[in-house]
Structures are given as structure tokens and as C-alpha cells.
């Protein structure tokens, strides 16, 4: 028994040394998975906040009456493409954030099941993609409804579910993590604000293409853009704060 025990230690040491030698000889470098998630997290911010300036600035040219319809159609094409990036980033930020928290020692009770967090977000991606690509059709409306439902569920989960977990001490949640969850909920609310304040823009723009420019149509386009502006600025503020809290990790 003692002999076997020593032999197993010897074997382990041998294996360990072999790995060590391999590492030394081939100069293998191990990177913590947390580094990848953190990089991914930063890139999400890049393609959300960074890409949004092109969308926002482009939209100012959509309501510029000096621009021809053809020019405005080109701008719509540019905005529509670039806007995919903030849309996808909006979906990815939550599961990636959860993976980062798991790396920090959160949700250890669920083990590998943590990866299941990706499933609802995969569906959400299809809902958003469907609502954009099939805009104006009956299926598009269904997707839009599902997208809104997903957002409501997430906002409820963030403000009710996470608050319950925090205040009832079911799991330990640091203050800065709670604040990040709340800010994410706030960003989702801003997203709702953008969606609904901008909903009048597409029909007015369609009218512009079909019937040409008129004072009434231009007014509608301009009003819609004015309504969406505070929501966009509020969302940016939320994202900027979200990133600061992630960096400073304040404790209250």
C-alpha cells in the first residue's frame, strides 16, 4: 500500500516534470480563458458604442432636406448594415458578462450548466434578425413581439430576479456586479425607448420614397429623430457608466 502510494507520487511527479519540460522546450504559453472573455467583453463595447456613432451621425443626414432621396437611401443602407453590430453586441453582452462572472467564482453551484445561459440569447438573436430582415411582414411583427417579450423578461430578471438573489443572500453578489446588472436593465429600457420613439420613422420614410419630399413628411421624419435622440444619449451614458463600473469595481 505504502509502496503503491509512493509509486503513484513518483508517477505524478514524472508526469508533472514531463509537462514542465514540454512547456519549457516548446515554450507553450497558457492563457487564462478569463482573458478571452474579457477581450470579448471589450470588443462588444467597441462594436456597440463605437459603431453607434456612425449610426447616429448618419441618421442626422437622413432628415437633412438638402439631401436627395437617392442619397438618403444610400445612408439608410449604411445605417442598416452598421446597426447590426450594436444589435448583436446588445445580445452578447449579457452571456459574456455571465461567463466573466463565472470566471470570478460566481455560480459555481451550477458547474458546466452555466453554458446554458447562451441558449435564450441565441433565440433572441433570431428574434432580432427576423424583426429586421422581415420588417413590415406579418412574420416580422411576430419576431418584433418576441423580441419585445425577451427584453421584458430580461428587464424583469435584472430588477426582480437579481435583486431577490442579492437581498435574500441566496448567492453572494458584489455591489458593483449588482450595479452592472441594474445598468444593463436601464440600457434595455433605453433600447425600448429608441424602438418606440423611432417607430414612426420607417413609415414616414417609405412615404418619402413613394411620394417624394413634402413639408409634412420632413416634419414627421424630423420629429421622430428628435424623439429618439434623448434615448440614444441616455443609452450611451448607461454604456459608458457600465464600462466604468466594470473597471473601477466600486464597493458601497
Amino acid at each position: 500500500m505504502v509502496f503503491n502510494f509512493h509509486r503513484s507520487i513518483y508517477r505524478n511527479l514524472e508526469t508533472h516534470n514531463l509537462i514542465f519540460t514540454l512547456v519549457k522546450r516548446t515554450k507553450l504559453i497558457f492563457i487564462d480563458t478569463q482573458i478571452f472573455w474579457l477581450t470579448f467583453h471589450v470588443f462588444i463595447l467597441v462594436y456597440w458604442l463605437g459603431a453607434d456613432i456612425s449610426v447616429f451621425y448618419g441618421s442626422t443626414q437622413l432628415t437633412n432636406t438638402k439631401n436627395s432621396i437617392e442619397t438618403r437611401l444610400v445612408i439608410v443602407k449604411i445605417i442598416s448594415f452598421v446597426n447590426w453590430f450594436p444589435n448583436i453586441a446588445n445580445i452578447l453582452i449579457f452571456p459574456v458578462g455571465i461567463m466573466l462572472l463565472a470566471g470570478l467564482g460566481y455560480f459555481t453551484e451550477v458547474g458546466k450548466l452555466i453554458y446554458l445561459v447562451w441558449f435564450p440569447f441565441l433565440f433572441w438573436f433570431f428574434f432580432i434578425a427576423g424583426s429586421i430582415t422581415q420588417r413590415g411582414t406579418s412574420m416580422g411583427k411576430v419576431y418584433l413581439y418576441l423580441d419585445s417579450l425577451m427584453r421584458i423578461l430580461l428587464i424583469s430578471f435584472v430588477y426582480i430576479g437579481i435583486s431577490f438573489l442579492y437581498f435574500s443572500d441566496v448567492i453572494f453578489i458584489e455591489d458593483w456586479v449588482l450595479l452592472k446588472f441594474y445598468l444593463y436593465g436601464y440600457i434595455l429600457i433605453c433600447g425600448f425607448g429608441i424602438k418606440y420613439s423611432y417607430s414612426g420613422f420607417a413609415p414616414a420614410f417609405k412615404n418619402l420614397i413613394e411620394n417624394g419630399p413634402s413639408i409634412e413628411i420632413e416634419k414627421k421624419l424630423s420629429a421622430s429623430r428628435k424623439m429618439v435622440k434623448p434615448w440614444v444619449l441616455a443609452l450611451w451614458l448607461g454604456l459608458v457608466l457600465l464600462s466604468y463600473i466594470g473597471i473601477s469595481k466600486p464597493d458601497f
Partner: protein, 222 residues
């Protein structure tokens, strides 16, 4: 601690607006270069592109004072920290120059300053390469090799920026000619070829700054 967080936060935001802002510029340039659209539309797209491009241009310039402030606050160089004042003076002066070049429409008035800006970029690229190489071999003036690598990658992005200017020169001339004389197959050929060359350097910048960001997060022991 508070100051460090704020500087790190600004450093990340600069990266966000650099790479993220570039996406819109890159995609809209396809429409600007396409002969399918009328000249007025292409001119407007060029104006939009140029205005959005000020986000990457501004963030790149600010990367120097902000990045080196982060170096100073973490004591990652051998210099006394008050030296950072000079980085800020340089950064702000360069930023004023960059914005002056963007806002000034008079080409004659701009010409000497454009040349000066290009020389400045050559000098800065060389200085940063020297800083990086000496830090790699002698730990001077930067104390960590991953940081030296980041500085080298940043210097290479400046080099790529210079190459964009060089490869886009025929483009600018052809685009100007197109707005005055109208489109022709010869002009379009120059536009397409020149833009394709410039795009390669843009992609190189994206790759380099993405690697730099990854190294900044990872901080490997090299």
C-alpha cells in the same frame, strides 16, 4: 486608485471609438467609391465618412497622453512622472493640428500643415519604435516587455496610417477630378485601385490595435 480607474476607462473608450468608429467609415467608403451612385451622393458620403473618421483620428492622437499616463501611474517606466506633462502638451497640440486640417477647407492654407503632420507621424513612429526596441533589450525606458510590444504595435499603426495617406493620394486627386469633370472609366479605375490599396492598410490597423488590446488585457510575461 480613482485616477488609475479613470485613465484606464478613458484608454478603453479611446479604443472603442477608434475601432468602432472605423467600422462606419470603412463600410460607407464602398458607396463613396461606387460609380453606381451620382456624384452629389458620393460627395455627401465622402463628407459623412470624413466627419465620422474624426473619431478614430482624435482617439489615435489622444492614445499617446492617455496611454503614457497609464504607464506613469503604474510606474512602468524609468522617468519621473511629471514628464507626462510633455506628453499632454504634445497630444493637445497635435489634436489641434488634426482638427485644424479637418475644418480648414482652403487647400493652399492646409498644404504646409499637412506636410508637417506627415513628418510628425514619421518622427513619432520612429521614436516609438526606438523606445520599444530599447525597452525589449535593456528595459529602458519601459519596464515591461508586453508594454514595449504594445508601443511597437502602436508605432506600426501610425506607419499604416502613413501608408493609407500615400496609397490614397491618387484617390484624392481622382475624386477631386471627378467632382469637377464628371465620372469616366479612367477616373473610376484610379479610384477603385487606390481605395483597394488603402483598404489593406486599414485592415492592418484593425489587426494591430486588436492585438494591442488583447496584450493590454493579458499582460503576458515575455
Amino acid at each position: 486608485m480613482f485616477l488609475e480607474s479613470v485613465i484606464l476607462w478613458l484608454h478603453i473608450l479611446l479604443f472603442v471609438y477608434w475601432l468602432g468608429g472605423d467600422l462606419g467609415v470603412f463600410y460607407s467608403s464602398r458607396f463613396r467609391n461606387s460609380p453606381k451612385y451620382d456624384i452629389k451622393t458620393r460627395q455627401l458620403i465622402a463628407k459623412i465618412t470624413s466627419n465620422i473618421d474624426m473619431a478614430p483620428k482624435t482617439t489615435m492622437v489622444l492614445m499617446i497622453p492617455i496611454g503614457f499616463s497609464l504607464v506613469a501611474i503604474n510606474n512602468l517606466w524609468i522617468f519621473p512622472n511629471w514628464i507626462i506633462i510633455f506628453f499632454w502638451i504634445f497630444g493637445i497640440a497635435w489634436l489641434i493640428l488634426v482638427w485644424f486640417l479637418h475644418l480648414t477647407k482652403n487647400a493652399e492654407k492646409k498644404a504646409p500643415w499637412t506636410k508637417f503632420d506627415l513628418i510628425l507621424r514619421y518622427c513619432l513612429c520612429s521614436v516609438l519604435v526606438i523606445i520599444s526596441v530599447t525597452s525589449f533589450f535593456n528595459n529602458y525606458p519601459l519596464l515591461e516587455n508586453w508594454l514595449a510590444l504594445k508601443v511597437l504595435l502602436f508605432a506600426l499603426t501610425i506607419f499604416c496610417g502613413i501608408m493609407i495617406r500615400i496609397s490614397a493620394k491618387p484617390y484624392i486627386l481622382a475624386f477631386g477630378k471627378m467632382t469637377l469633370e464628371g465620372s469616366s472609366p479612367e477616373i473610376e479605375k484610379v479610384i477603385t485601385e487606390s481605395a483597394a490599396k488603402a483598404r489593406r492598410w486599414v485592415k492592418a490597423i484593425w489587426f494591430l490595435i486588436s492585438i494591442a488590446a488583447f496584450i493590454g488585457i493579458w499582460k503576458p510575461i515575455i
